[in-house]
Each structure stands twice: as C-alpha cells, then as structure tokens.
C-alpha cells in the first residue's frame, strides 16, 4: 500500500505557509517504517502516566536503537500486533491497548502497571516494586536522638534530624556539628517547630557562598558548556588575536542571578539583560550593549541588542559555541531544547514531528529516511535561531556587503564583518590557510577593532546563508506551536510544562543522586506543578523538595 502526503498552502501576510493534510505510513512487503509520531500517540493514549507528565515519551520506551531501528521486548510485542493496512497512529493506539495486560519484559509487572508507575515495560531491570510493609509502620515522626546509626526512626518514616543533615550537606556544603545536631533535636521535639527550623536553615544555606558560587554554578555546566581554551581567559592566539568565542562568565552570572533570590526562573529564557559583578561581589543588571574589554580578542562583551535577547539562548558564548560557522543552527536549537526543556533529540526524546518537515532547505540530506525522524522536530526548532550569527563563514551565497566605514559592515578577505576599520596601519596577519582562512590577509589597525561580531542579530542572515530560504515555508515551531521569532520561541518554552519539569528534575537529581522512580515521580510532579504558585522561584522549589517524604526518610 502506498502512503501519500498532501500539502496545501495558504497566504498569511503575503507569505505562503505549508500545511500537511495528512500523513501515513509507508508499508513495503518486508518492512514497516514508523514515523516519530509514536511518542505523541503514547501520551495521547495515556496522558497521565509519569512519562507524559511535563514531557513527551522517549523513543526508548519501545526502541533499543533508532538507526537502524531495533526494538526492546515491549516494542517488539507492539510491532507484532500492529494491524497492517491501518494508519500508523491508529494501529499503534490499538496495539497499546491490546498488550496492556501482558508482561513484555517478564519482570512480573504488567505493561500497563509499568507505564502507570513510570518504569519501562521493555526493560526487566526497570521495575517499581512497592515498599515492603514494615512491622513498625505506625512509626515515629521525631524522637530525641540516641547513640547509634540512624537512631531516630525506622526506615521509611520521616526523620527530621536526618533531613537536617541532608539540608546542611547539600545546600550549605558542610554537615552539622555535634552542637548543631543537639540544638536542632531540642527544637525538633515538636515536629512543627522542627520543620520550621529546617526551612530557616535551608533559607540560610541558599544564600551561602557554597550554594551560590560552588554548587549552583556547577548545575549550569552542561547547559553552558564552557571551554577554557576558547573562553574569556584563554591565552591561545590566532596571530595577535586571542581566540575568545565569548565570555561565559556572563552566562554563569545570569544563571546564578535567576536561580537564586526567589527570582523567576523563566528569565533564564526571557531575560533582556545581562548581569554584571562588581569587585565586591555586588550584582547589577545591564540592558545595554556591552562592549568587549579586550580589542585584541575575537569575542567578548555582549554585542546583541536588548530587544533581540532571550536570556541564556542568545548570549555571545551560547551562539558562538553552538552555531559556530553553520548556516542552519541545528546544534544551537538542539542544545536549547536539551538544556532547558529536558529533551535530547539525539536520544530520541521530545520528538514532535512537524508535518511537511524537514524541508531540507540547506540540502544536507536530512529528509532521508534515517534522518527525517529527528529532523522533522529539530529543523523547525532551529529556524527561529536563523537570524542570530554564530561565527562568520566563507559559505556565503549572497554577495558581501560593500565596504563601509565605522561599524556598518565590510569585507575582508571574503568575510563580511562588522568592523571598525581604521586606516592607520597596524598589525598585518598573513593568509591563514587554504580553506576558510583569510586568503588576502588583513591589517588590524593599531587601536584594535571588532573583527567578528559573534552572536549579533542579522535580519538578512537566512537568505545570505541559505539560497533556498523562504520565510513562508520555513516556519519555526516549538513544542507544537508555530512562532515567528526567537523571543516567541523562548516565551513558549518558558511557559511550558517541559521547562518546569526539567528544572525541577535537575534539583531532584542534585538532592537524591538519581532520577525519580516510582512514587517519587508523583513527588516531582507536585513540585514542578506548584511553580506558578511559587513565582517560578528556584528557592521555593527547593523548600518544597525538602518537605517530600523522599527527602526526610532514609
């Protein structure tokens, strides 16, 4: 049976927009190729399962691997009952229902029970087994401590001194002393007073140098991805120029500022300011363009105008590192999706295919069968980043802008640059290489100049970089919602359940050393769902975290 796909176009503001009317599954005599709509089908079928709370199910629910595809036991069972000749989404829905009562991975728990509990029905190692009944389940909330390990309460019961140790170790960076414990235990004879004291201690810890300058910044590392060799302090030079892609200290300060002091975490994606730090540690905000300090560095400062800023997504470092020389900023979009919405497309997470995508506008072959599954989500995510420069490249298809004075633009050795070009001589850099170098060499005025404007906004960039670009066809989409600009992208993302869950899970893993399992998923969901009521404050979130049974019970 042949699959078919139809498109229609409608005009909006003079620009055509492609819409797919329907999509089907290609069946051949020997293989079936599933579209990446499967995670959405799972979540529409089971909207309340933990895997679908604040995120979309991952492909690993059914697959061991995606390219080439292989299936785990659960996926194999689904595949075996998929009805031929039926549209994939409908067939999958029916197949899920058909095998609910089975136990695909033979771990003693049915598929539907595993889905409901948040464990993987295709992995026998992933099972949520209920806590065994304990003869002293009547339990003690708090008792005065005696000698001996875990002396207060029985396993599974809330233990305020235990929670006190945890709070101090995690958020203050130092366990309580003997005197601290004695003082706390006196207070904690009353559970209410003990809890109040616990929260007071936490509040103090969240203002400590340990939390603000050691623990909290380290949570940002895989989002910012600093590299000293191309960072603000590098001594590596290209001729006389220090190879600075950007100053990631701005990124860390923004992270620290937004994630502390009861501020709104959504500003990680929506902030139009940068955070400065005085020598005495005082933080202040700047909504100006920030010039770089060292004219002999490639990058530095924050050249992007405030009206185009979207928090951590548009710092010079983020754009320079992730977009680099590429025309289509796929890596940038993927990193933003992974870091702030918790979905790693390369791991088959967060796939929300957009009909009619990928269009493969830059002719990279991403519409091939093995690629389209991810790129139907990734490419529309990337479109919103197209007007933000990474590093300039020789891969410009449009003629370079005419040489101009001041900062208007010019051309050096084939590179369009935003530069202040002096005519007073200075340091000459000979040609730097055969491919992508500067064949004609450049002359740096003695006063220095902005050789690259990494991370600036360039409204002409899409057509400059990709000949076939069409704003009416390349429609940016994030989490299933069409948007027009990166700022809108950021607004949608910051308001999403995915954003809330991702940050809550980050703090959960920090507290417990592992992702939530079993009944902890309910605790996690309650925490992130309370964020709007808490003003999206990270501190408030942590206060809720320490009140969970998982935190206070060994």
């Amino acid at each position: 049976m042949l699959a078919w796909r139809a498109r229609s176009r409608r005009m909006r503001g003079g620009r055509p927009i492609a819409l797919a009317l329907c999509a089907g599954t290609l069946w051949s005599a020997s293989t079936a190729e599933a579209k990446p709509t499967a995670p959405s089908v799972v979540c529409k079928t089971y909207p309340t399962i933990p895997d679908c709370a604040g995120r979309i199910a991952s492909c690993t629910l059914c697959h061991d691997a995606l390219a080439p595809a292989s299936w785990n036991d659960f996926g194999a069972d689904l595949k075996s009952v998929l009805a031929p000749g039926v549209a994939f989404d409908d067939a999958l829905r029916a197949a899920l229902a058909e095998i609910e009562g089975e136990d695909s991975d033979a771990d003693g728990v049915t598929n539907i029970a595993e889905l409901t509990a948040g464990s993987l029905p295709g992995d026998p190692q992933s099972t949520d087994r209920p806590r065994a009944a304990h003869p002293m389940d009547a339990g003690i909330a708090v008792t005065p401590r005696d000698a001996g390990p875990f002396p207060v309460s029985d396993l599974g019961d809330i233990d305020l001194p235990f929670a006190f140790r945890r709070v101090r170790a995690l958020y203050c960076g130092e366990s309580p002393s003997f005197e601290d414990m004695e003082a706390f235990e006196q207070v904690a004879i009353s559970e209410q007073a003990g809890r109040r004291r616990l929260h007071e201690v936490l509040e103090g810890c969240l203002q400590s140098d340990y939390w603000l300058k050691t623990a909290l910044p380290r949570l940002a590392d895989k989002r910012i991805k600093p590299q000293g060799s191309i960072g603000p302090d590098t001594q590596i030079r290209l001729g006389p120029l220090r190879v600075v892609l950007g100053d990631y200290h701005f990124d860390y300060r923004l992270w620290r500022y937004v994630m502390s002091g009861d501020r709104d975490m959504r500003e990680l994606l929506t902030a139009d300011y940068h955070v400065l730090e005085a020598p005495d540690g005082t933080l202040s905000l700047s909504r100006e363009v920030i010039p770089k300090v060292d004219p002999m560095a490639l990058g530095g400062g924050q050249p992007l105008q405030p009206q185009y800023r979207a928090g951590m997504l548009t710092t010079q470092w983020f754009l320079g590192l992730n977009t680099m020389f590429s025309a289509m900023p796929r890596t940038t979009a993927a990193q933003a999706y992974r870091a702030y919405l918790g979905a790693d497309i390369s791991a088959g997470e967060g796939l929300r295919p957009v009909d009619g995508e990928p269009t493969d506008v830059d002719n990279k072959g991403v519409d091939a069968a093995g690629c389209a599954g991810c790129h139907s989500t990734l490419d529309p995510l990337a479109y919103a980043f197209m007007r933000y420069e990474g590093l300039p490249s020789t891969n410009y298809e449009a003629p370079a802008a005419p040489r101009g004075a001041g900062t208007g633009g010019g051309e050096l050795g084939g590179f369009p640059v935003a530069a202040q070009l002096g005519g007073d001589g200075g340091v000459a850099i000979p040609g730097l290489g055969r491919d992508g170098g500067l064949p004609g060499g450049i002359t740096i005025p003695s006063g220095g100049f902005n050789f690259f404007s990494i991370g600036v906004y360039n409204p002409s960039r899409p057509k400059q970089r990709i000949r076939a670009w069409d704003d009416g066809v390349q429609q940016p989409v994030v989490l299933g919602k069409p948007v027009e600009t990166l700022l809108e992208w950021a607004q949608v993302a910051a308001a999403s359940d995915e954003f809330k869950r991702n940050l809550a899970e980050m703090f959960f893993v920090h507290a417990f050393g592992q992702k939530p399992q079993g009944e902890q998923l309910n605790e996690l969901n309650a925490i992130w769902r309370a964020l709007p009521e808490d003003g999206y404050s990270a501190n408030r979130l942590i206060h809720r975290l320490i009140d969970t049974p998982s935190f206070g019970a060994p």
Binding site: A147, K222, Q520
Partner: protein, 219 residues
C-alpha cells in the same frame, strides 16, 4: 608494617559492617527503648535496604569541609599532594565526586563513586588523621587531648580512651558512640597479641576508622 596490620584489624572490627552496607542505605536496627504497640523490640543489628532513596555520596566540598572541621584544619591546609597541590579540590577532585569543566571538558560529576574513590578517600583521611596526630603530639593538642600521645596507648577500658573515642565520634559523626561502638574502636589500642600499640598510632587508627565509615562518607 604495623599501621597496615592495625588498619586491617580496624576494618574487620568496626568498618566492615558499615562497608557492607555501602550505598545500600543500610540501617542497623537497635533497641531504642521506645514501646510500640504490637511491635517486637529489635535487639539484633540486621542491615536493611533503604526504603525510599539510597544514601547520597558526600562529595568533595562537603567531605573536605567536614573532615577539616573535625580535625581542626582549614580546608586549604587539610591535604596537599607533595606539599603543593590541593588533594581534594584539584588532584583527586573527580574520584571525590567533583568535576572541573573549564580545562577538562567534564560537564558533570561522576554519578557514582569510582573504582579509585575508596583509595583516594583512604589516602586523604589517613593523611589528615596522621597530620593531626603528629601535630598534636608535638605540642598544643587540638583534637587528641584525652591523653598524651607519647608512649603506649592506655588500656581499651581506660576512661581516657573512651573520652578520645567519644570526641572523635562527635567531631566526625556529630553524635555519641554506642557502648558497642566505643568498645570496638577502643580495642584498637591492643594488637592481636594483646600488647599495647603506640598511643600516637592508636590516635591515627581510631581517627581513620571512624573517618572512613559509611556514616561519614554518605548521608
């Protein structure tokens, strides 16, 4: 070498039970004197798995702060490899649960203790205990004040031994030892032949034994 022998003795006598519970979040049930309707009072110590979350690994910053405070060192003076580089914050940062992204590209700390973690922990704790014992023996004792560190260790049942052990428990574990625990550590004052060991060696061993328990290294 005597320290190694007594180290083994210490481990087998006290730390092994705790070590068997490592990462599993064991609790040693005990008779705490509380009456529970219909409940049998436990008097045996049966390790049991944690019911909710496993124990958390005490990572480099907290490990360093706790050890330094317990042994009256500043974190900067706690341990220097070859007298030059900080053991915890630099040389052994990763095995102790940290990471440094700027020069190594390591963006996350290790999820679990590494194969080298126990060796590094032993090294840092033993170094700290040894340094404190030797400095205290040289005069103006700050931690090992219960008895002079010259000559032989007192008898295990001597009150001053109990004072030293209790003080170490309070410094390292923020609690008093049980009678059983106190006696187990105190027994290190005698070798396998029943002869007294050097007082300074007993101080180091007692400190090392308590400082490498699961209770100190996890929370």
């Amino acid at each position: 070498m005597r320290p190694s022998i007594y180290l083994g003795h210490a481990l087998s006598a006290v730390s092994m039970v705790s070590a068997l519970c490592a990462l599993g979040g064991c609790s040693l049930a005990r008779d705490d004197g509380h009456e529970q309707a219909g409940a049998k009072q436990e008097t045996t110590r049966d390790p049991a798995p944690a019911q909710r979350t496993p124990l958390q690994w005490k990572r480099y910053a907290t490990f360093e702060a706790d050890l330094a405070r317990a042994l009256a060192f500043s974190p900067e003076n706690l341990c220097l490899e070859f007298g030059k580089e900080p053991c915890v914050r630099k040389v052994h940062l990763v095995p102790l649960g940290g990471h440094e992204p700027f020069s190594t590209g390591m963006l996350e700390p290790p999820a679990e203790p590494l194969a080298t973690t126990p060796t590094v922990v032993d090294r840092v704790v033993l170094n700290a205990c040894t340094s404190r014992a030797e400095q205290d023996a040289a005069g103006d004792a700050k931690v090992f004040k219960a008895f002079p560190l010259r000559g032989d260790a007192p008898a295990p049942g001597a009150p001053e031994v109990g004072v030293l052990v209790t003080d170490l428990y309070r410094r390292l574990l923020a609690r008093n030892p049980s009678a059983e625990e106190r006696d187990a550590v105190a027994s290190l004052a005698r070798d396998d032949a029943g002869k007294p060991i050097a007082a300074i060696d007993f101080a180091k061993l007692a400190c090392f034994t308590i400082g490498t328990t699961t209770e100190f290294l996890f929370f």
